[in-house]
Symmetry: D2
Subunit: 434 residues, 4 copies
C-alpha cells in the first residue's frame, strides 16, 4: 500500500482539553508527530511571556499544532468529504500543513524576530524542505510533497481552498488558538460555537465559505477574537515582560558586537549574531536553552544584562503609564530621556514605548492582515457575499483599527535614596507617580 494511504491498525487518540480528543489514523501524521522537530515545539510556549500575566498560559506550540490538525481533519472528514467542490486528493496535504504550520517558531518568537531580524515562516519552510526528520517522512509520500506542504504554509500553493483552511480570517489556526488560549488562561472570552461554524463551512474554488445560516456564530467568533486580543494578547503586563526580554537580546547583541567577554561563551547565539544561522543551529534553540543563558547572565559582569535577566527570570517587571504620541507627550518623553541619563539609568533599556494595534475585522486587508482572506457568506440562492455587507455588527466595527501605546520603566529604581534624589523626584512627577 502507498505510504500516503497507510492507516494505523488502530486509531490513536490524544486527550485534549479543548477538542476532547485528537484522532490520528494516518500513518504519515503519526510519523510526523514522532519527529524531533515536532517534539521540539513542546519547549516553546504558545503565548510567549503571557504566562507571567496569566499563570495558566504555560501551554506549548505542540499543544496548539495538534489542535489545528484536528480542526482541519474534522472539516475535511466530517463536512467536506463527498462534496463535489472538494478534491479528496488534497486531504493529506492539508492535514500535514495544518500540523506543521508553526514548525519554524523559535523561543519567544516575537522578540527574537525583532532583534535578530529572523522570520519563523522562513524557518518553517527550511525545516520542511531541509535535511530533517520531518522532511524524511514527507518525502516518503512523494518527492515534491515537502515543497507542497511548504507552499501551503507559505500561502503560495495554487489551490487557494487548501490555503484558506489554515490562513484566512476564520481558519483552523485561529479557531484553535482562540479557544485554547482562553482555556489555559481561564478567561471567559474566547468561547464561540466552533461546532456550528464547522458544520456550515463549504468548499468553494478558491476558499472556504460559510453558509448564511451560520452568520451569527461567525459574528460571535469575531467578537471573541477582539476580546482575546485586548484582554489577553495585548495585556500590558505581558508586554512589560516582552519589553524586558527584547532589551535583554538587544543588550547581548550590543555586548557581543562591542567585543564584550562573556563568562560563558553564548555559543547558541553566535550564528544568530552573525546573521548566518543554519537550520540545525536554529532547531537547537528553545526556551529551555534561553533560560539557561538568562540564569547564567544573572551573574554576568555587565550590570544592565544582569539586571534585565534577573527581572525577567524573577518576574520583577517594568511598570507602565498610558502614552499618547502627541507633541506634548513626545516632548515629555524627551525630557524623561534626559533625566534618566542624568539619573544614570540608561533610557535605551529602561524607558520604552510599546504599541499594540489591531483591526477586529477587515475586508480590504491592510497591514498584518494582508494575506488573510476576508470571510465570505454563502447565501441560500448560491450567491457569495463578503461578511461585513451582511452583518450589521461586523460592518459597524469593520476597518476600525485600535491602537494602544504605553510607556514602560522600572519603578523600583526611581525611589531609592541615592545621590540622584532630586532627579528621581522630577522623573516621578513627570510620570505622575506621586
Amino acid at each position: 500500500m502507498a505510504y500516503s494511504a497507510e492507516k494505523l491498525k488502530e486509531e490513536k487518540v490524544f486527550k485534549d482539553p479543548v477538542h476532547r480528543y485528537i484522532h490520528v489514523r494516518d500513518r504519515v501524521i503519526w510519523d510526523l508527530i514522532g519527529t524531533k522537530e515536532f517534539q521540539r515545539l513542546r519547549r516553546i510556549k504558545q503565548l510567549g511571556t503571557t504566562y507571567l500575566t496569566f499563570h495558566g498560559a504555560e501551554h506549548s506550540r505542540l499543544n496548539h499544532s495538534l489542535g489545528v490538525y484536528e480542526i482541519v481533519r474534522r472539516i475535511i472528514d466530517d463536512v467536506f468529504k463527498g462534496r463535489p467542490e472538494w478534491d479528496e486528493g488534497e486531504r493529506l496535504l492539508s492535514l500535514c500543513a495544518a500540523l506543521l504550520h508553526d514548525l519554524g517558531h523559535g523561543p519567544f518568537s516575537h522578540s527574537f524576530e525583532k532583534v535578530f531580524d529572523l522570520d519563523h515562516e522562513h524557518f518553517t519552510r527550511e525545516i520542511v524542505v531541509g535535511n530533517t526528520e520531518v522532511n524524511t517522512v514527507l518525502k516518503r509520500v512523494g518527492e515534491d510533497f515537502p515543497k507542497k506542504v511548504a507552499d501551503v504554509i507559505a500561502k503560495t500553493y495554487q489551490n487557494k481552498l487548501v490555503v484558506s483552511l489554515i490562513s484566512s480570517q476564520i481558519d483552523a489556526d485561529r479557531m484553535d488558538y482562540l479557544q485554547r488560549d482562553a482555556y489555559f488562561t481561564g478567561v471567559s472570552y474566547g468561547h464561540f460555537d466552533m461546532e456550528r461554524i464547522l458544520r456550515v463551512m463549504r468548499p468553494r474554488e478558491d476558499q472556504v465559505v460559510i453558509k448564511q445560516s451560520g452568520m451569527h456564530a461567525v459574528e460571535d467568533y469575531i467578537m471573541s477574537r477582539y476580546q482575546m486580543y485586548w484582554q489577553v494578547y495585548f495585556h500590558p503586563v505581558t508586554r512589560s515582560a516582552e519589553v524586558i526580554l527584547t532589551k535583554i537580546l538587544h543588550r547581548a547583541k550590543h555586548l557581543y558586537e562591542t567585543g564584550y567577554k562573556f563568562q560563558q561563551e553564548p555559543v547558541h547565539f553566535y550564528s544568530m549574531l552573525t546573521g548566518n544561522m543554519s537550520v540545525s543551529e536554529y532547531l537547537k534553540l528553545d526556551e529551555a536553552i534561553m533560560f539557561y543563558y538568562f540564569q547564567i547572565w544573572e551573574e554576568e559582569e555587565d550590570a544592565i544584562l544582569r539586571d534585565l535577566c534577573r527581572r525577567f527570570v524573577n518576574r520583577n517587571l517594568f511598570k507602565y503609564v498610558e502614552f499618547h504620541p502627541s507633541n506634548d507627550q513626545m516632548n515629555k518623553l524627551m525630557e524623561l530621556n534626559k533625566l534618566f541619563r542624568k539619573a544614570a539609568i540608561n533610557p535605551d533599556y529602561y524607558l520604552v514605548v510599546d504599541s499594540s494595534s489591531d483591526l477586529p475585522y477587515d475586508f480590504y486587508r491592510p497591514g498584518e492582515e494582508e494575506e488573510r482572506l476576508p470571510i465570505h457568506l454563502l447565501k441560500k440562492d448560491g450567491d457569495i457575499r463578503e461578511l461585513s455587507r451582511e452583518s450589521e455588527i461586523v460592518d459597524a466595527i469593520s476597518g476600525k483599527r485600535r491602537t494602544d501605546h504605553k510607556l514602560y520603566f522600572p519603578e523600583d529604581l526611581l525611589w531609592d535614596d541615592s545621590a540622584k534624589k532630586n532627579i528621581k523626584k522630577q522623573i516621578r512627577r513627570l510620570l505622575e507617580l506621586e
Copy 2:
C-alpha cells in the same frame, strides 16, 4: 501597622482556570509571591513527565501553589472565621504554609530524589529558614515565623488543625491538584464538589472534620482521587519517560564517578554528585537547566547517555509489557537480562521493572500515607467517626492496596537486522512481541 496585618490598598487577583480567581489582600502573601524562590516554581512542572502522555499537562508548581493558597484562604475566611474552635491568629501562618508547601521541589523531583538521595521536604525547610528572599519576607512578620511555617509544612507544628489544612487525606493540597491536573490533562475524572466540601468543613482541636451531610461529596472526592492515580499519575507512558529520565541520571552519576570526561562540565550537578548541596546551588536547578544538559548530552560520546537523552528529549520512549513478580516471571526476567547482555543492550539501563502502588483510602495509614490523617465525619449529635465506618463504599475499598508492575524496554532496538538477529528474536519471543 504591623507588617503581618498590612493589607494591599486594593485586592489583587490572578485569573485561575480552576478556581476562577486567586484573591490576595495580605501584603505578606503578595511579597512572598514576588520572591525569586517562588517564581522559580514556574520552571518546574507540576506533573513531571506526564506532559509526554497528556500534552496539556504543562502546568507548573507555581500554578498549583497559588491554588492551594486560595483553597486554604477560602476555608479560613469563608468557613472557619468566627467559629470558636478556630484561632484567627493562625490565619497568616496557614496561608503562608499553603503557598510555600512545595517550595523545595526540584526538577522532576521523583527521579532526582531517587537517584541522588535528595528530599524536597528537607529543601523546603532550608529555603524557608535559610538565607533567601522568602525568609526575609517571613522574618518581617516575626523572628520565629519562618520556623513556624517550616514546622507546619513538616507536620510537626503543635497545632494539628493548621497542619491538617495542608496535610491530611482531604487537604487543600490534594483538592487543588486533583482538580488542576484534571483540568490541564483534560480528563473527565478529577471532578468533585469542592465547594460543598469546603462548606461542610469544621475546625476541631486537632484536625479539620467534615459534617456528616457532606459524606457523599467526600466519597466522590475519594473516587476521583482513585481514578486520577490510575488514569493519570500512574499512566504507563508517563512511567516510561520517568524510567528513561532516571536512567539518564544514573548514567551521568556513574560516568562522573568513574572519571568520565564530559564535553562540557556539568557544573550544576557537581555538589549533587558529591552529596553536598547548598540551598543556593539547589535553587539554581530547574527544568530549563536540565533540558540544557539533556540537549548537550545528545551529542556526548558515551553511547548510553547520548541515546537515553535523545529518547527523552524527542519522546522516543520505551515500550512495556505486563509483569507479575511470580517465580516464573522472575526467571524470565533473569533470562532476558542475559539475552540483553548477549545482544549488547545493557540491561541495567534498558530493561527496567517499574512498580506503582496506591491505597485509595485508609484509616490506619501505612506506607506513603503514614502522615496523612484519615478523614473524620462530624455527626449531628456532635460525635466524630472515621469515614470508613459510615460510608459503605469507602469501607469496601478501604485498605485495598493496588499494585501494578510493568517491564520497560526499547522495542526499536529489538528489530534491527544486525549480527544479533537470533538473540533478538529470542528476546522478542520472551516478551511476546511476536
Copy 3:
C-alpha cells in the same frame, strides 16, 4: 429580634446550575420562597414557547428569580458592603425586590398581554401589596415595606441606586437570564465574565457604575446579549409557536364575544375576557391550566380553535418566509390575503406578519429601553462617563436598531389535492415554495 434581622440557624442553599449555589440566610427571604405565589412561578416557563425550538429551555421563572436574588445578594454582601456610598439599610429591600421582580408574570406572558391587554408589572404590584402570602411576609418587616418593594420593582422608588440593581442595562435580571437561558438552551452564546463585572461594580448616588478596568467584560456582556436576542429570543421557530398561541387566544376571545358555546366552560378565562380580573383569579392562571384548556379545545367544534390548539400542543407549527414591508411586499401580502380567503383558509388566523426588533445598546433609551439606564464607567480619576464614549466597539453598534419581519403560514394546508388546487398553487408560487 426584629423579623427583618432574623437569620436562619443554618444557612440554606439551593443547588443551582448557573451560580453553583443560591445562599439564603435571611428568614424573610426564606419565608418568601415558601409562599404559594412564589411557588406558582414553577408553573410558568422562563422562555415561553422557546422550548419548542430549543428543547432544553424548559426552565421556570422560579429558577430565574432565585438567580436574580443571588446576584443581588453577592453584589451587596461581597462588593458594596462597607462602602460609604451604600446604605446597608436598603439591603433587605433590594433582596426582596430581586426575588419578587417577576412575580406578576402569567403563562406565556407575551401573548396574553397582547391579546387581553394585561400588564404583568401591574399584577406584580397587586400581588405584593394585595391580600397574599407574599404580602403577609413582607408586612412583618414593616407596614410600608410591601409598597417599597413594589416601588423598587416599578422603578419609582426614590433611591435609584437600589432600582438600578434590578433595572438598568446591566442589572442582575439580565445578567441572570442571559447566562441561565444560554445554559438551558445549550447555546454557546451568553457567556461573559459575571464574576469580573460584579467585582468592578461600585455604588453611586443614583446608580451602579462600573470601574473602567471592567470595560471589556461589559463589552463582552453586550455582545452576548446581542447574540442571545437574535439566536435565541427572536428565533423564527419560537415566534411561529408564539404566533399560533396568540391566534388561539384571539380565537377563544372572538368565540366568547360572539356567544359561542364551549363544550366545557372556560371559567379561568372569564374575568380576563370581561377585562375585570382580580389578583386571586390571576394567580390561578399558570401554564398547566392553559394546557388543560388547549387539550380540551383540541376537540372543540370550532375548526379554527381546534386546529390551532392541535398545532400548538403537538408542535405542528407554521412555516415562514422573509418579509420586508416594502410596497411590493405589501401588495403581495394583500394578494395572498385574498387568495387565502378564496382557498377557505382564514387569513386572520393563518397568514401572519411577525416583527422582532432590538437595540443592542443605547444611551438615549428609546422604546422598550425607555426605563433602562445606560451604563456608566467610573474612571480612575473619579469621573463618570457613559459607556459608548469610552468603548469603540459599543459606540460602533450603539443606537443601531435591527428589525426582522417574517410572514407565517401553515404550509401543510397549501399542498392538499382539494378543489382549491389552482388557488393553492398560486399561493405557493407567491410564497416561492416551488
Copy 4:
C-alpha cells in the same frame, strides 16, 4: 426509494446542552419526532418531583429520549459501522427503539403506577402497536416493524445485541440520564467519559462489550451512577413530595370508591379508577392535566385531599426522621400511629415510611436489575470477562445493596396550640423534634 432508507435533504440538528447537537438524517426518525405521542413527552418531567428539591430539574422526557437516540446513533454510525459482528440491517430498528423507549411513561409514573397498578412498559407497547401516529409512521417501514420496535423495548427481541444497546447496566438510556440529570440539577456527580466509553464499545453476538482498556472509564461511570442515586434520585425531599403525591392519588381513589361527589368530575381518572384504561385515554394524561386537578382539588370539600393538594402545589412538604425497621422502631411507629389518630391526624395519609434501595452494580441481577445485563470486558486476547472479576473497585462494591428508610410526617401540624396540645407534645418527643 424505500421509506426506511429515505434521508432528509439536509441533516436536521437540535441544540442539546448535554450532547451539543442531536443529529437527524433519517426521514423515519424525523417523522417519529413529529408525532403527537412523542411531543406529549414534553409535558412529562424526566425526574418527576425532583424539581422540588433541585429547581433546575425541570427537563422533560422528550429531552432525554432525544439524548438516548443520539447516543445509539453515535454507537452505530461512529463505532459499530463496518464491523463484522454488527448487522447494519438492525440500525433503524435500534434508533427507533432508542427514541421511543419511554413513550409509555405517564405523569409522575412512579406514584401512578403504584396506586393504580399501571405499567408504563405495557403502555409503551400499546402505543407502538396501537392506533397512533407513531404506529402509522413505523408501519410505513414494514408491517411487522412496530412489533419489532416494541419487542426491543420489551427486551424480548431475539437479537440481544440490539436489546443491550438500550437495556443493560451500561446502556444508552442510563448514559444519557446520568449526564442529563446531572446537567439540569447542576450537581457535580454524573460526569464520566462517555466519549471514551463509546469508543471502546464492541458488538458481540448477544451484547455490547467494552474493551479492557476502557475499564477505568466504566468504573467511573458506575461510581457516578452510585452518587446520582443517593444524591439526587433518592433525595429525601424529593421522596417527601413523592409521598404526598402518592397519598393524593390514594385519597382520590378512596373518595371515588366510597361515592364521594367531586365538585368537578375527574373524568380523566375514571377509566384509571375502574382499571380499564384505553391507550387514547392514557395519552391524554400528562402533568399539565394533573396540575389542573390538583389546583381544583385545593378547593375540594374533603379536608385531606384539599390539604395534600395544597402541600404538593405550594411545596409545603412533609418533614422526615431516620427510621430503621428494628423491633424498637416498629413499636414506636405503632405508638405514633395511635397518637396521630388521637390527635385527629389521619396516619394513613400523614405518617408514612418510605424506603429506597439500590445495588450499585451486580452481576447476578436480583430484583429491579433482573433484566439488566452485567457489563462484560473484552480482553486483548479476545476473552470476555464479567467486569467485577477484573475491577477491584467494582468487585468491592458489587452486590452491596444499600437501603434507606425514612419516616415522613407534617411537622407544621404538630405544633399548633389546639386542644390536642399534650398529645402533640408526646408525638414531638417520640419523633425527637424537641
